[in-house]
Amino acid sequence: MITAGIDIGSITAKAAVLKDGEILGTRVMFTGYNASQAGKNVIDELAKEIQIRVDDLDAVVATGYGRNSVEFATKAITEITCHGAGAHFLNPDIRFIIDIGGQDSKVIRIDENGRVADFAMNDKCAAGTGRFLEVMARALEVDLDGFGDICMQGKEPAKISSICTVFAESEVISLISKGETRENIIAGIHESVASRVSALAKRVGVVEPVMMTGGVAKNIGAVRALEAKLETTIQVSEYAQVNGAIGAAILAGK
C-alpha cells in the first residue's frame, strides 16, 4: 500500500510517501500564497523523484494549516495527531514532542501507541516560533541555516526581554547599537524562544524521551537551548521537518 502525507504549513509545504511502512521519499518546498497549489506541486515533485505516479497513491492525508485546501486528499487530520503518529513511527519510545513550525509552537504528550494524550499550542503570538527566528536572522543579516551554529558561539546570551516578535526586533537593533556581539545576541534570541516553549511544555508535563520536530529542529541552537531549559536530552530525527507529513502518510494507511 502506498500512502502520502501532505503537510501545508505557514512557511513550507512538506510531502512524504510511504510504502508498507517504509519511507520512499520526502520533500520540502515553500508554501507561497497558494496553499492548494503548493500541495499539488510538492507531491508532484516528490512523485517524480521517487518515480511513482500520483494516481498510484492509495490514500492521502493532508495536515497543517492548509489541510483543508488540499483537494485530492482523502482526509484532513490536524498536525497535532500527525506529529504524534510520525514521532511514534520514527521512535516508538517517544512520549513527548516539541514541534516548532513557522507560526506555531506546540507540545504534544503521546501514549505508547502514539496517540495524543494532551497538547498545548502557543497563543496568538509568533514569538517562540520559526517565524520569530527568521525575522531575527534577517535583522542580524545571518543566513537562517547558520543561525544555530552561531548561537553556539555565544558566551553570554544577551537578554531579550520582549514577548513580541516586532518589539524584539527593535530590541535586537538596540543591542547591536550598544555593541553587543552578534553571537551573544543570537544566543539570547534562542534562549527567548526556549523559555516560551518550555513554559508551554511544562504546562502539559514533560515525559521522557522527548523528540523535537518541525523546521526549527534543524537549528542546533534552539535544540540545545531547549535541552538546557527542560533539563533533558532531546532527540532530533533527520526527518524532523517532515515528521508531520510522515505521520499523515501513516494515518492515511489506517
Binding site: Y65, K75, I77, I80, T81, V116, F119, M121
Partner: protein
C-alpha cells in the same frame, strides 16, 4: 474531516426551538418599554448582570443591562467598530469589551438598538468583576446620575458572618437609595412577591438547563446562551416565569419526541466562560460536525447556581448572601466543586474552556482548573483563546486546529 451529515429541511425545521419567537417578542417589548420609559413616566436604572434586580422591579423601575447590551453588540458583530471607538477615546484595548463597546455606544448611540436608554440612576454590584466599578463610575459621570455600589466580598472558603452582615446592611442601604431616587416607599409585600417570582424563574431556568442531561440533549449550551436573556433582564417578573415554563415544557416534549439538537450526538462537552457571541453559529456548527454537543456550561448556570441559598420568604437578607456567592466571586476550590458537579450531572466527555481576553475574573485560574480537572477526573480539556465581543481576538484557523485536534484525541 468529519463531514456534516446530510439533513433535509424538514428535519432541520423539527430541530428548531419553537419558543425562540416568543423570546424575541418578549425582548423586543422589553427594549421598547425601556426606550420609551421616560414618555411613560417610568424610571430607568442600569444594573450589572449579577446585581439584585428584584428590588428595582418591586419599585417599578425598568432595569437595563449594559452587559446584555454588550452581548447583543457581540452577536450583531458590531463589537470591533465600537471597541475601536472606545480606544480612540483613550480606553485601553486590554479593558473588557462589554465595557468598551457600551461606553462607545453611550457616546455614539450606535450598536444594534441605537444605544441604551439614558439611566436615571445606576446600580453596580461587584460580584461579577472589578471592572464594573470603574465602568459605572464612568457612566455616572457621563450621564451625571447617582450610582449605588453593592460591594460583595470575595469568598475564599465560606462566607464569614461579618461578610454576611456587611452585604445585608448594604441591601438596606440599597432600599433607602431606591426610595430616595423614586420618591416613594418600598412596598415590602410587593418585594416579597417579586422575590418569590425571581426564585421561581431561577428554578425553572435550572429545569430548562437540566433537560440537556438527557441523552441526546434536546438543547445545547448555545441555545442556553440565547435563552438566558430573560433570567438576566426580567428576573422577578411573571413574564420570565411563564416563558421558562413554556421553554421547559418544550424541552421535555422534545425529549419525548426524541428530538436531539445535535443529530448523531456522540460526544458531550461542557463549556466554561462566556460565549464567543459573534461566533456562536460557527462554533456550534464546528462541534456538530464532529458529532459533539455542548450540553452544559458554567456561565448560564451561574444565575441558578445560587438559588438554593435563597429563602424566598426572606429574600432581602438571604438574597444578598446568595448574590455574593456567584460562580466567579468564589475561590478556585469552590469553582472546581461546581465544575465537578456539572461534569457529573451532564455526563460529559470533555471540557472546553474559553480563555476570554475580556473577562479576567472568569479566565484567571483556568489553567489551574484545567490541571485539576485532568488530574482528578481524567477528563480531556481544551482551552481556546478568544474574546466575547472583540473579534480581533479571534483567530479562526488557530481555533479550528485546536478544536479539530481535541476532537481527534477524543475519538482516538
Amino acid at each position: 474531516m468529519a463531514g456534516q451529515p446530510i439533513i433535509n429541511d424538514s428535519e432541520k425545521e423539527r430541530r428548531k426551538i419553537k419558543s425562540v419567537s416568543k423570546m424575541k417578542e418578549i425582548m423586543t417589548t422589553y427594549y421598547i418599554e425601556a426606550k420609551t420609559a421616560r414618555e411613560n413616566g417610568k424610571k430607568v436604572a442600569w444594573i450589572t448582570s449579577g446585581g439584585p434586580v428584584e428590588f428595582l422591579i418591586a419599585m417599578d423601575v425598568i432595569p437595563v443591562y449594559p452587559e446584555n447590551h454588550g452581548a447583543m453588540i457581540g452577536a450583531s458583530k458590531m463589537g470591533v467598530e465600537l471597541c475601536e471607538k472606545a480606544e480612540e477615546m483613550g480606553y485601553s484595548r486590554d479593558l473588557c469589551s462589554y465595557a468598551r463597546a457600551d461606553i462607545a455606544c453611550s457616546v455614539t448611540n450606535g450598536g444594534p438598538i441605537g444605544g441604551l436608554p439614558k439611566p436615571d440612576f445606576l446600580v453596580c454590584c461587584n460580584n461579577i468583576c472589578g471592572t464594573v466599578l470603574k465602568w459605572y463610575e464612568v457612566a455616572a459621570r457621563y450621564y451625571n446620575v447617582p450610582l449605588f455600589i453593592l460591594d460583595t466580598p470575595f469568598i475564599h472558603t465560606t462566607m464569614s458572618e461579618a461578610s454576611k452582615k456587611y452585604v445585608i446592611a448594604q441591601t438596606y442601604e440599597y432600599i433607602d437609595f431606591l426610595e430616595k431616587q423614586c420618591g416613594k416607599k418600598m412596598d415590602f409585600d410587593r418585594m416579597h412577591q417579586v422575590g418569590k417570582l425571581g426564585v421561581q424563574a431561577l428554578r425553572l431556568w435550572q429545569e430548562v438547563l437540566d433537560t440537556a442531561a438527557h441523552k441526546p440533549a434536546p438543547m445545547t449550551a448555545f441555545d442556553a446562551f440565547f435563552h438566558l436573556a430573560l433570567i438576566v433582564t426580567l428576573r422577578g417578573t411573571q413574564i420570565a416565569v411563564d416563558y421558562y415554563k413554556q421553554l421547559r415544557d418544550e424541552m421535555n416534549q422534545r425529549i419525548k419526541d426524541k428530538i436531539a439538537m445535535v443529530p448523531n450526538e456522540k460526544y458531550r462537552l461542557l463549556w466554561d466562560n462566556l460565549p464567543v457571541w459573534y461566533r456562536t453559529k460557527w462554533l456550534s456548527d464546528k462541534f456538530s460536525a464532529h458529532n459533539a454537543c455542548l450540553v452544559g456550561d458554567t456561565y448560564t448556570s451561574a444565575w441558578s447556581g445560587i438559588m438554593d441559598l435563597i429563602d424566598e420568604d426572606n429574600f432581602i437578607e438571604t438574597g444578598a448572601v446568595a448574590y455574593s456567592s456567584v460562580y466567579i466571586n468564589v475561590s478556585l476550590d469552590n469553582m472546581l466543586e461546581t465544575l465537578k458537579k456539572l461534569i457529573k450531572k451532564y455526563d460529559v466527555d470533555g471540557l472546553v474552556m474559553h480563555s476570554n481576553r475580556s473577562c479576567k475574573p472568569y479566565s484567571l485560574g483556568q489553567y489551574d482548573l484545567q490541571k485539576l480537572v485532568m488530574k482528578e477526573l481524567k477528563l480531556p480539556t481544551l482551552i481556546i483563546e478568544a474574546d466575547m465581543v472583540d473579534e480581533r481576538s479571534f483567530s479562526e484557523s488557530q481555533i479550528e486546529t485546536r478544536i479539530d485536534a481535541f476532537m481527534e484525541t477524543l475519538k482516538a
